[in-house]
C-alpha cells in the first residue's frame, strides 16, 4: 500500500544510519505521512522494507503518541492542557474549540475533516500559553480573539476540502463572546 515515493524515502533512511533498525521510526513516519495513519498492512510493509520483524515495527507504532494506529481527522487540533497552559485557560480554549467545531474532545467531525484532542503533554510553548497544534503547526497566544479566528480558519478549510458540504458549527462560540481573558465561575 506504500507508494514508490514512500518506499524510496524509507530505503534512504535505511542507508542513513549505522544500524538499519534505527530507521524503523523514521520509516513509520513516512508511511503515516502518506496514508494519514498506520494500518497493520503498512506497519508490516515498513518492517519488511527496513528488514525487521513486524512485531518490532508494531511495538513502535503502538508506543509513540505521534504515531496513530487508528484513522482520525485529516486535520488534528491538539490542545495542551498541562499546568502552564491550564493556568492560562487551556480548558476554556478546548471548550471553545469544541463548541465552535461542533465536536467533543477526542472526536472527529462526521466528515473526518477535523479531530479535536486535549492532551496532558506539554509542547514547550508555555510562555505563549494557551496553545494548540494544528497538525505540525504551533498556534500560540490563543486569546479569545485568536481562538475565534482559528475556528473561522479551520471551518473555512473544511468547507474547501469537503466538496461543498456545509459544516453546522457556529463560528463564535458563546463561551467566548463578551468574556474576559480569564475564566469566570459558572
Amino acid at each position: 500500500m506504500l507508494t514508490p515515493e514512500t518506499r524510496d524515502k524509507i530505503l534512504t533512511e535505511v542507508e542513513r544510519y549505522p544500524q538499519r533498525r534505527t530507521a524503523v521510526l523514521p520509516a513509520l513516519k513516512h508511511a503515516q505521512a502518506q496514508i494519514g495513519w498506520l494500518p497493520p498492512e503498512a506497519i508490516g510493509e515498513v518492517a519488511d522494507l527496513v528488514g525487521v520483524s513486524h512485531a518490532a515495527a508494531n511495538e513502535l507504532a503502538t508506543f509513540y503518541s505521534m504515531l496513530r494506529t487508528r484513522p482520525g481527522g485529516r486535520t488534528r487540533v491538539e490542545v495542551c492542557l498541562q499546568l502552564p497552559c491550564a493556568l492560562a485557560g487551556a480548558e476554556r480554549l478546548l471548550g471553545a474549540l469544541a463548541e465552535g467545531l461542533g465536536i467533543r474532545p477526542g472526536e472527529a467531525t462526521t466528515d473526518g475533516a477535523i479531530e479535536l484532542i486535549g492532551t496532558p503533554e506539554c509542547f514547550g510553548a508555555c510562555h505563549r500559553a494557551p496553545m494548540c497544534r494544528v497538525n505540525d503547526d504551533y498556534r500560540e497566544h490563543l486569546t479569545p480573539e485568536a481562538t475565534c479566528a482559528l475556528i473561522e480558519e479551520l471551518t473555512a478549510d473544511r468547507r474547501r476540502t469537503t466538496d461543498g458540504r456545509r459544516p453546522r458549527a457556529r463560528h463564535s462560540p458563546s463561551s467566548l463572546v463578551g468574556r474576559p481573558a480569564r475564566a469566570e465561575g459558572a
Binding site: Q19, R21, L81, L83, A86, R92, G118, C126
Partner: protein, 447 residues
C-alpha cells in the same frame, strides 16, 4: 535587575535563525577551530572540566567528567545530544535550536571531538519540526563550508551530525530510553550499570548531553575556562543558565542570567513583572513537574544548583512554573500527575500502576470526595514508587504529590471539609469542559 548581557540567547525577541555567516561574524566556530587546530581531545575535556560546566538538562552532572568516562578505545563511539525537551514548563532548548542552531552544532562538534566520536545524533522531540528543519539546514550549510563532514577543517577528523526526530514520548528524555529509541526499540530505560559512557548507543561508548549544556561549550573553548568561571558562583555553579518562566506571571519567557545571580522572588518580580493576577505567589515549581514545589516562604532562595537543593528541591532544567494564591494546589498536582500517568513507559510496575492510582486519588480529593486517610495513602503509595524503579521518571512522579501534601495539607483538608474545590474560578467557566473521573465532561461545574 543585574547588569548582564546574554550570551546563549543574545537576540531576545528574534524569530529567525542566525545564519552561518552571521554566526561567524560574531566569532562563531572559533572554539571549534581552536579545538581542532590547537588542542588534543584530552585538552578539550580538561578545559571543560576546569570551567565547572554542569549538565543543564536536569541532573547537573559535571560535563567534562562525563566525557572523561568515555573510554579511549578503538571502534565507534557516539555523541548524543538530548533535544527531547518535554518537561512541562520547559522551552529553552527550543529557542536555542530555533534561533542559534550553529551555537548548538559547534558544541556538538567539540563534544564529539573530545570523546573521539565520528557520528553525533541530535535526538529532537518530534513536535519541534521548525527546530529540526532549521538544524538540518544549518548542518548542510556548515558541512558545505568544510566545518563538518569528512576531514573537517582539513584536520583529519570526520564528523557526521544526524538529526533524529522523536515521535512524542517524554521518556525519551531519559538518556537510556533515548538510546533505545535511537536503536529502533521501544524507549524503555535500561538497567544501570553499565552506564552509557561504557555501553551506550549500539552498546558502544556514548556521551549524552543536553542542548543547553552543549551550547555553553563553544564559549568555554573560545574564551577559556578562566573567563567562564567569572560568570556565576564558582566553583560549583558557574556559567549562564536559561530560566524558563511560565505560569501566573505577567511576562513569561526565557531569561538568561548567571547561575546564583538572582532569587526566585527577584526573577518573578523584576523579570517576570510579578504575578499576572496581582495575587501573592503561592509556590513555584522550580523544575517543571519533576521537583518539589518551593513554597512562598522560600522565595528568597538563590537560583543555583546548590541553593535550590538546600531549600529542599532541585534546580533541574530551571523551568519555573509560578502559582499564585488563586490557584488550587490539589488541581495543579492532579494535572502534573496526569502527565506522569500518560508518560510512564510501563516497564516498571510501581510507576506504571502507581502514577495512575496517584492521579485517581488526587482527582477524587480535588473534587472534595475521599477522606483524610487518602493523604496517608498518597504518601505511602509514593514511597512504594520512588527509588523502586529503573529511572528518574518514577521518582519525579511522586514529587508533585509528596511536596504538596507536606506543604499544603490544610488546603487538601479544606477540600474535604467543603466537599468541593474552594477555587472555582480556575478554568471552570460555563460551557467549558471539565476533567472528571471519566475523562472530559461538559458543563460539569466543580462544586
Amino acid at each position: 535587575m543585574i547588569d548582564y548581557k546574554p550570551i546563549l540567547l543574545p537576540h531576545p525577541g528574534r524569530t529567525t535563525p542566525v545564519s552561518l555567516e552571521e554566526y561567524r561574524q560574531k566569532g562563531g566556530y572559533r572554539g571549534w577551530e581552536k579545538a581542532l587546530r590547537e588542542m588534543s581531545p584530552d585538552d578539550v575535556i580538561e578545559e571543560v572540566k576546569a570551567s565547572g560546566l554542569r549538565g543543564r538538562g536536569g541532573a547537573g552532572f559535571p560535563c567534562g567528567a562525563k566525557w572523561g568516562f568515555v573510554p579511549r578505545i578503538e571502534g565507534p563511539k557516539y555523541l548524543c545530544c538530548n533535544a527531547d525537551e518535554s518537561e512541562p514548563g520547559t522551552f529553552k532548548d527550543r529557542e536555542i535550536m530555533e534561533i542559534e542552531p550553529h551555537m548548538l552544532l559547534e558544541g556538538v562538534a567539540i563534544a564529539s571531538y573530545a570523546i573521539r566520536a565520528n557520528d553525533a545524533f541530535i535526538y529532537i522531540r518530534g513536535e519541534y519540526v521548525t527546530a529540526a528543519d532549521g538544524l538540518e539546514a544549518a548542518i548542510e550549510e556548515a558541512t558545505r563550508a568544510g566545518l563538518f563532514g569528512a576531514d573537517a577543517l582539513g584536520k583529519g577528523f570526520d564528523l557526521r551530525i544526524h538529526v533524529f526526530r522523536g515521535a512524542g514520548a517524554y521518556i525519551c528524555g531519559e538518556e537510556t530510553a533515548l538510546l533505545e529509541s535511537l536503536e529502533g526499540r521501544r524507549p524503555m530505560p535500561r538497567s544501570r550499570p553499565p552506564f552509557p559512557a561504557v555501553e551506550g548507543l549500539y552498546r558502544r561508548p556514548t556521551a549524552v548531553n543536553n542542548v543547553e549544556t552543549l551550547a555553553n561549550v563553544p564559549l568555554i573553548l573560545a574564551n577559556g575556562s578562566a573567563w567562564y568561571q567569572t560568570i556565576g558562583v564558582p566553583p560549583r555553579n558557574t556559567g549562564p543558565k536559561i530560566f524558563c518562566l511560565s505560569g501566573r506571571v505577567k511576562r513569561p519567557g526565557n531569561y538568561e542570567l548567571p547561575l546564583g545571580s538572582v532569587t526566585f522572588r527577584e526573577l518573578i518580580d523584576q523579570y517576570g513583572g510579578g504575578t499576572s493576577t496581582g495575587a501573592p505567589v503561592k509556590g513555584v515549581l522550580p523544575a517543571g513537574a519533576s521537583a518539589p514545589i518551593i513554597t512562598a516562604d522560600r522565595l528568597d532562595t538563590r537560583l543555583d544548583y546548590d541553593s535550590v537543593q538546600e531549600a529542599g528541591s532541585m534546580l533541574g532544567s530551571a523551568s519555573l512554573i509560578v502559582l499564585d494564591e488563586t490557584v488550587c494546589i490539589v488541581r495543579a498536582a492532579a494535572l502534573m500527575e496526569e502527565f506522569f500517568r500518560h508518560e510512564s513507559c510501563g516497564k516498571c510496575t510501581p510507576c506504571r500502576e502507581g502514577t495512575g492510582w496517584l492521579h485517581d486519588i488526587l482527582v477524587r480529593l480535588e473534587g472534595g470526595r475521599g477522606s483524610e486517610s487518602d493523604l496517608e495513602l498518597l504518601m505511602s503509595l509514593s514511597g512504594e514508587i520512588s527509588g523502586k524503579v529503573l529511572c528518574a521518571l518514577g521518582d519525579f512522579a511522586t514529587s508533585p504529590v509528596t511536596a504538596t501534601v507536606r506543604g499544603f495539607r490544610d488546603e487538601y483538608l479544606q477540600h474535604l471539609e467543603l466537599g468541593r474545590c474552594p477555587y472555582p474560578d480556575w478554568g471552570s467557566g460555563a460551557g467549558s469542559w471539565e476533567l472528571g473521573d471519566g475523562g472530559w465532561q461538559t458543563g460539569a461545574h466543580r462544586g
